[in-house]
């Protein structure tokens, strides 16, 4: 069953056509990774899906509801949660308070504070600490927990691995199967191509705002991906 359906979506970032007539479908329970070089329009796409940037044209449907013009806070109720680039935790709030902001527009679902603490056990003893005192990887985990606590149908993750050590990234991605098993669909944007290929059911490669390659990781050769990523050939 299709959860998210994007049709001919164009988003401008200033004068730049950051996303250019993109169409994309996402099935329930799937993990889709979007890869692409810097400036390919990946983050703009996610921001448009979360309602932070408004599209110039095209439509976005979530479970057959047109949400193209909904503002960000209404999309949370509709079932979309974005883990923003750079984590963006609330600096003056504690770890637990950061997580609790995710419950403000809580939908019914499997995720609760206890469940997040089970997913990331280290958080329990650090919950009273200020969020700004955490390491980058820990902040990323809190940002994911915060997003999950609204019980989204669709979890958007922007540049999870940015600025983090590979071992930390791997550890955070280890939580992904459990998140998907709980019924959440994930759309992740990833610059680390090999990491994306490892965790995703399908990948889309963006180049200048258009999808130039799509498929299952097993069916794509590294040469195809390389060409799509850098825009070489054809």
């Amino acid at each position: 069953m299709t959860l998210l359906s994007i049709r001919d979506l164009t988003v401008h970032h200033g004068l730049l056509r950051a996303v250019d007539g993109l169409s994309l479908d996402l099935e329930r329970g799937e993990v889709l990774a979007i890869i692409g070089a810097n400036g390919a329009g990946k983050s703009t796409l996610l921001r448009a899906l979360a309602g932070l940037d408004s599209p110039t044209s095209g439509t976005v449907h979530l479970a057959d509801r047109d949400i193209t013009r909904h503002p960000a806070h209404r999309r949370v109720s509709a079932g979309i949660a974005l883990v923003p680039e750079g984590r963006r935790l609330f600096r003056s709030l504690t770890v637990e308070e950061n997580l609790l902001t995710g419950t403000y527009r809580r939908r019914p679902g499997p995720w609760s504070l206890e469940r997040i603490y089970e997913l990331f056990p280290w958080m329990t003893e650090r919950r009273r600490q200020n969020a700004a005192q955490l390491s980058g990887g820990e902040q990323q985990a809190v940002a994911i927990g915060r997003a999950l606590l609204s019980n989204p149908d669709l979890l958007l993750v922007d540049e999870l691995s940015l600025g983090l050590a590979p071992v930390i990234v791997r550890r955070i991605y280890e939580a992904l199967p459990e998140i998907v098993a709980a019924g959440t669909t994930a759309l992740i944007v990833e610059q680390d191509v090999s990491q994306a290929m490892r965790v995703a059911d399908r990948v889309h490669c963006l180049l200048e705002g258009r999808s130039v390659l799509a498929g299952r990781p097993a069916e794509l050769t590294s040469e195809q991906v390389e060409h799509a990523y850098f825009g070489i050939g054809d």
Binding site: H73, V76, L82, R88, L93, Y104
Partner: protein, 287 residues
């Protein structure tokens, strides 16, 4: 002994300054709006109460109970109708809007109530006092202080314990990310302004019982709020309380030295903080 007395009177006055400054601090902390009409709003509340007492003959405490929620509602509407639109045009636009509001309010008050100086009469309560050892403590300053403390503590609990309060602090940190977890910034801002207006109304009524006011009193009151906020540290509720108390105690001790020193002493402490500790005494954490 008169020095201890000055200290106690200053402490009690400081609670009122803190309550008065809270709204200014909250609106700046959450929305980055410097509300230049803050002092005038306190005066509007005073005149409104004066008109209500005169018009209906209701006791003062009933009028206070009516005026404060009315101002909260007024605050919410002011944010949604007047300030929200100017927010997207940058800080200069909101400054101009609140400056304009300040002038309009002063002139409307002048038109309706004339330039006469008034006081809110609370009967014998305003002058009654009790002895605490060698010190005489007025009931009015004490009740004012306790009420201010209770209101500040209540706001503190609201900000730290409730979902909406957390959203206020989250929006203050990062508005865009707060919208990602479902905060409708217009509503959150409305609530922040409602709290600001309610506290400024309450403070305005207490000022009105303590001392006289006229339509042009607002700006000179505003400076006290600014000083309390800057001394305490921007965006910190407990900093504002500390700032208010420091200001109150300084003024009280200043007047003990020489009555003409009252306001000057406060301004000097304010200047010293700006020069040597511009982040305020309790800087850092929001709320």
């Amino acid at each position: 002994m008169q020095w201890i007395n000055a200290l106690v009177q200053g402490l009690l006055l400081g609670g009122l300054y803190a309550l008065f400054a809270t709204g200014l601090s909250l609106m700046f902390g959450v929305m980055r709006i410097v509300n230049l009409a803050h002092g005038d709003l306190a005066v509007v509340a005073s005149f409104l109460a004066l008109a209500l007492v005169g018009g209906t003959g209701l006791p003062l405490w009933v009028v206070i109970v009516v005026t404060v929620p009315l101002f909260a509602l007024l605050g919410y509407l002011t944010q949604r109708v007047l300030l929200q639109g100017s927010l997207s045009s940058g800080p200069m636009a909101t400054l101009l809007v609140t400056f304009g509001l300040s002038i309009v309010l002063q002139n409307v008050l002048l038109e309706i109530f004339s330039a006469d100086t008034r006081t809110l009469d609370s009967g014998s309560f305003a002058t009654s006092s009790f002895h605490l050892g060698p010190i005489t403590v007025g009931w009015l300053p004490l009740v004012t202080f306790l009420l201010a403390g209770a209101v500040l503590a209540g706001i503190g609990v609201f900000l730290s314990r409730t979902g909406l309060g957390r959203m206020l602090r989250a929006s203050s940190d990062d508005r865009e990310t707060a919208s990602l977890v479902g905060a409708d910034s217009r509503h959150v801002y409305g609530v922040a302004t409602a709290i600001a207006f309610a506290t400024v109304a309450l403070a305005g009524l207490m000022f009105a019982v303590r001392s006289s006011f006229d339509p042009a009193t607002g700006p000179s009151r505003l400076i006290f709020a600014f000083e309390a906020v800057v001394i305490g540290g921007l965006g910190s509720l407990w900093g504002t309380l500390l700032g208010g108390i420091v200001l109150g105690v300084t003024q009280s001790i200043g007047s003990q030295i020489d009555p003409a020193m009252t306001l000057l002493a406060g301004h000097l402490v304010f200047l010293a903080v700006l020069a040597f500790r511009p982040q305020g005494l309790l800087a850092g954490r929001t709320a």
